[in-house]
Symmetry: D2
């Protein structure tokens, strides 16, 4: 298996499988097979040998535990793998065994295997991102103008709309998916350099071999080996980290809105989802939990990867190996979160009535700024701010609507009453108008986001 129980619990079977022992070993073998084929095509090794080598590259015949044990001793997992492969080839064709892993080095095999595994994980991640964006976009259409509280510093602020709120969830996802694609295009490249990156054993044919292998494996052929040039690789991890940040923001909001006392949204339940081993009444926001866990873990993985970048000379000591170990967990975590949120978004229930109740419970205080601005046009901002502060206090103390208190105040002040009509003041407190205004500010943004999301959906990773 790929990871401890608790990591797999936070991931998905697909992502765990992408980085499983079998998947990594098969990736190494795919490298060796493609190397042999390419070298045969370039006349470096005999075609017959290449055929035997490629035929032996089947992960299920390899012993992962022996590779780990041998690797710890040798200092690299590639040595025992090549040894097992050589033995398998030799069992069929002693001469062919001599051409296994010809002119290559540990890092070529291992980096390429991790690239292949990562591409597999990215396909799952990208698909879940598409589902998540789709589900949230649909929700934003249904509830475009539903009024809800905007909150700052965990306190009620002004009225916004559900459509407006969802922009702040979806826009980073669309951008993040675009940036992830871009980063993947740069990062998913063949590693082939031989001992120090010069492909010295292949003479003039190194570049041609690399081109053939890249085509064979469906990877980009870099302009050279990237043994200690990790910037494009770690840049991909940064995008994974940024996605987790955006997932975390959504999950934080959902989990806060799903608190019993707020109760404005709920993750889908049923079928054993989100139960408690102790409490029969519990409905836990499990998808948010998974996404928050990803957001809690990812920054440290990204930091670990950034910190391993200063790799010594032509191959790092300790830092390259640390990079490999920290890498899979990050992408497993990203898919765990993306997949869970996509499922939750598709079934997210939005309680418009409760949203309204929560707004109304504040007695119109969330319109204090707007009322203040109305008065300010006539009495100046500081007098207006002070007036509203005192009206707000009365509203709280007397548990009466701020609008009523404000209308009384207006009626009692002839000068003000002569310039501000009561209806003008009432309009300021219109919940639905406030929500519609919020939605209107993101109309063109949504058009753009939908178009970009459609373009991404049209051409899968």
């Amino acid at each position: 298996m790929t990871a401890n129980l608790f990591e797999r619990f936070l991931s998905t079977p697909e992502a765990a499988e992408a980085f499983s022992d079998v998947s990594i070993i098969q990736g190494m073998l795919d490298f060796e097979g493609a190397l042999a084929r390419a070298q045969a095509a370039e006349g470096i090794i005999p075609g017959a040998a290449a055929a035997v080598i490629a035929g032996a590259c089947r992960a299920e015949r390899f012993d992962a535990e022996a590779i780990v044990a041998g690797g710890s001793l040798a200092g690299t997992l590639a040595i025992p793998l090549v040894k097992q492969l050589t033995a398998a080839v030799a069992a069929q064709d002693a001469e062919a065994a001599g051409w296994v892993h010809w002119g290559s080095t540990s890092q070529d095999v291992i980096d390429t295997a991790v690239v292949l595994a990562t591409r597999r994980a990215l396909v799952s991640i990208d698909a879940s991102l598409g589902s998540l964006i789709g589900a949230l976009t649909k929700l934003a259409q249904v509830h475009r103008d539903t009024p809800m509280l905007g909150r700052t510093l965990l306190q009620p602020a002004l009225v916004i709309s559900v459509g407006f709120k969802l922009t702040s969830w979806v826009a980073p996802l669309v951008r993040g998916r675009e940036r992830l694609r871009l980063a993947a295009r740069a990062a998913l490249k063949l590693q082939l350099g031989g001992a120090v990156g010069t492909l010295s054993v292949m003479g003039e044919k190194g570049s041609a071999v690399a081109q053939r292998m890249a085509a064979d494996l469906g990877l980009r052929a870099g302009p050279g080996a990237w043994q200690t040039q990790r910037d494009e690789w770690v840049a991909l991890a940064c995008e994974a980290g940024l996605l987790c940040g955006s997932f975390g923001k959504i999950a934080k909001d959902i989990s806060l809105l799903a608190q019993a006392e707020v109760a404005e949204v709920a993750e889908p339940s049923g079928g054993g989802r989100g139960g408690s081993s102790a409490m029969p009444h519990k409905r836990n926001p499990v998808a948010s939990m998974l996404a928050l866990a990803a957001a809690a873990r990812a920054p440290h993985r990204v930091a670990a990867l950034l910190a391993t970048m200063p790799q010594e000379h032509e191959r790092g000591l300790g830092n390259w190996q640390a990079e490999l170990a920290e890498w899979p967990g990050l992408f497993m975590s990203v898919h765990g979160a993306a997949h869970a949120l996509a499922e939750a978004a598709a079934g997210l229930s939005v309680d418009a009535a409760r949203m309204r109740t929560n707004i109304d419970a504040l007695h119109g205080l969330v319109f204090a700024e707007a009322a203040s601005m109305l008065f300010a046009r006539h009495v100046g901002k500081s007098r207006a701010h002070a007036l509203l502060e005192s009206l707000s206090k009365r509203c709280v103390a007397e548990q009466r609507p701020l609008l009523d208190v404000a209308l009384e105040s207006l009626a009692g002040d002839a000068a003000l009453a002569s310039v501000i009509a009561a209806d003008e003041l009432r309009a300021v407190f219109d919940v639905n108008a406030a929500a519609r205004h919020a939605s209107s500010t993101v109309d063109s943004q949504w058009a753009d986001l939908r178009a970009r999301a459609a373009a991404l959906d049209a051409e899968p990773l």
Copy 2:
């Protein structure tokens, strides 16, 4: 000042100045001035008031310590700043004071100020990057084919060339500079949203005000406020972190090559650079030290910023504030490293003779792989590998050149001697040919890098 003594020591005056109290406060005031002008142009506030407000926006008249003290109490630095500005405006025009900060909120002022400061720092960073790339590129031309050891896992591996080595330093810098520009274009945008991002106070005119302000301040106008959409912002920090990783790789190599026992390169000295308070003979690699310090610090800053992304609802509690605090040090650190490396690269001395001495001291062992491959074509890889292992041991034990030992072995084996000519074996041990081969593999890469570097130089950030 911007930072503690030890942070400033690792940075530059320009970068420290970009994030100084005065610079940040001026950035906040530039926001307030631009806001007033834009609102006047849109007929939201009187033109006369805007003029007085804009005229009062001069940082040198503000008291930073009072702003910090007031901010800690209020929970935001913007409240005391706006209070000071309002007082300054009121001193000239009581009515105008009522229009200060109209319809805006703390986050608008502060985020925009940090964007402006960051842009200033990026100009310095980008320029130093250009110098660094230029100096290393020149060095690669001068020493294109100078042979040097390639080293893996801190042990000698094969012969490479200085030109080849420098590719691995320069390519990540060119890519990093390109990605930094791209990220900056996305991230350097105006923040303007009012209380919750809807610009509610400005009614229909919010977007027009934002367009005017962005043009005024030379920033991008986002498609909306980005109060809790921090992905493009933190993506810029990721690029800063990636650059530090690439700087760290260069500095690690320089500092290893500059060890007395290796002595292949030396940072420029003289003028008090790199001395010791205790040891008169010391010449410390100070630029590498600064770059390694940046590489040691940056990953954790990036992680801190990624971790603050899940900001609650329409403004975060604690996480936004943490982001602001961690941000400046990252960019100060980047410039400290970039500037120091650019200076060091311009004066880096390369000791080609010593490089050759270090190669020769290994008695040709670094050609063991190449010799093994030559033999392998005739006796198979595993026999060849075993043969070279045993020859290598003799070479070490007897302190004789591997070539001599191998020639003896060849001469003593009639079968081998009939297929491998002595000259063929000698060619394998040709240091200069190995270096030329290494350089040839990066020729086309250098052409591309030089073109891209020139394009970046042509159009400054």
Copy 3:
């Protein structure tokens, strides 16, 4: 100043002062003065020279900017400082100038200065910790048995008491304060090693000089220099990080409980605390914000410090310098949080009525587990769990108290009714009894915590 505007905003004047330029420079000078005095006492340098040197060690006469500029060139801040000090001494006594910094090195001066600054910050931190523990302990006494909801995964779980809740806030603080003291005792030690740690210049007298200096400066004399032995030093930073974690837990709880929809506690307001530049009605939980910011920043600072531990040979290149730069912000952050929480705790209002309202709003669902357990004794756990799940659903659907629904169910099942009395079932739903039970489980813990807190208070750091 010590730090950028946003870091100072999250800290306190005391902590900022502890790491200010003047404080660090005075610390370096205190080292130099103590060194001269100790060497004079041991007969290494003339007593008269020592007197002149010690007299010149006044930070206000030194130019911090020149030290930073000179330090960046030289590679260490100590060289320009020693140069300035030497000049100041020479101005009075040319011969004495020759004895300045005798036999010492940069790291001695700088590490000791940071130790002294840290001690100063720790005194403030420890005092605020004491106040915070005291205020929370008082609150726990007043509200010992006040029932409130216990919540898990951000959903209501069972009834606890305020006294029980506060244990989970206070116990980590008491332990944290104890561990901080222990770590400080180990970490606050003199650094004195000379060039490589051997005090070679002082011959046999090195140890005696160290003993005298330690006594003079009130520090522990290590059994030797700790130039690249950073474990006790970074262990102190770990304790700072752990404290921020514990602060963050408290702040998270307070900020969640202070949400308008929950409204069970409120931070003190008034006097401009927690206002909004846009919204007159806002009361933001500012202390929680500061503590959450500290909790968001500290882990990354600790990681940075841990990552710098592998320092090369007898003095690190880049890592030591990175450690120095990251250190002050951590301790500034700790005090910002401790101080703010102490103030907030002293004025925290607890709304017992609202706590009860929030419990009652759940219709008794939080007693579902308890009821299930009661039934389970007679019908087995799985039947009971299933029964309560179905009763819970009815309770939610019909918006009736779970107790009523359960009593009906009991009455309708003759077998059950024969073994469970209605009063027994009613007892399970007793809110006050549940709270008293919760409090009773932490009684002895509180006794212990109070005793330990008193012991800490009795003997200040």
Copy 4:
């Protein structure tokens, strides 16, 4: 398996086993068994039921993949585990099944299982630490006075001794092992709290059950549950992080000293250790590689754990789950490094002759400080420093020993020659005397370290 291929490669079979699926599941079952036994002893559940439950608690009968899949849905791994256990018990005794997991909750089961797994890993870590300390101490005795270069900022500084150098490796290990024991004593405690920490289902008997279970499992019984009080737990992780820092320092030094151009020490080789898949001559420092990888990874794991501390209310959402996922890799990494370094230390070869050669190659420059101090006593420090700087330059330019150049200078200056005897100057350049001085400064420290190491060895964890 516990972890991906690359993590296991960096760890050991013992540590991987401690956190394997079977080990964690057995830990959960050990908890359930102990719970049943303790509750039976307290009369809460029938003794016969307890016996059946305890008998069913055998991990090999449980399906890990089903637990992961069920856990992801339910939101906790404990629910499917308890379900499987209940089914296993029911197969034997339907009534007993009703008493499974009585009054407990997910977190009790899971936290306790991780505590048990961690204890197992700590036993291995502590043992390897003992071996490592022992091996290094032996080395320090053999090479107590062997002269070697002290180096600062990766440049030669002064002469030290191997015995002195090893102090800086061993002292942090001894302290680290002591602190690890202390932290383990605090952290290895039973988790038992029920739904919210109050053990409400067990009434008055909760504490007695906890005492019995702790005794049964060999754990400390906390003064209560620690569901969201993670300070003692994460403090243990901090100690793991500090150990990795200390390992990294040793590994950094070894790998630098093992560079071909330095060649002062070598890790043991043979038996396939440290080979290369490409280069027959390679001998890579594999143990250093493992330790450096641990040092590169651990800080970020510690940061992740610190960052998860602010857990909401009575059980965290996302942060607790992230903590569990990041925990095992840290301890696996620690043991990988400790074990590898212990093996390497036991076979580390020290090349005293090469150490001397490297000193001599510097022409006595490493005595420049000492010579400067000798002159300074007579001509003042600044003149002496300038003199030695100029002599050092001549020594380098002319490639002659600094002693010779200095003797000439002395002979040519009658005034100086009258106060400094040539022999006095020669003594300053005595390599062996310098090494003996270095060793003498750590004599008492070694006595103390040996005593403490012996005390730790005497009483295993």
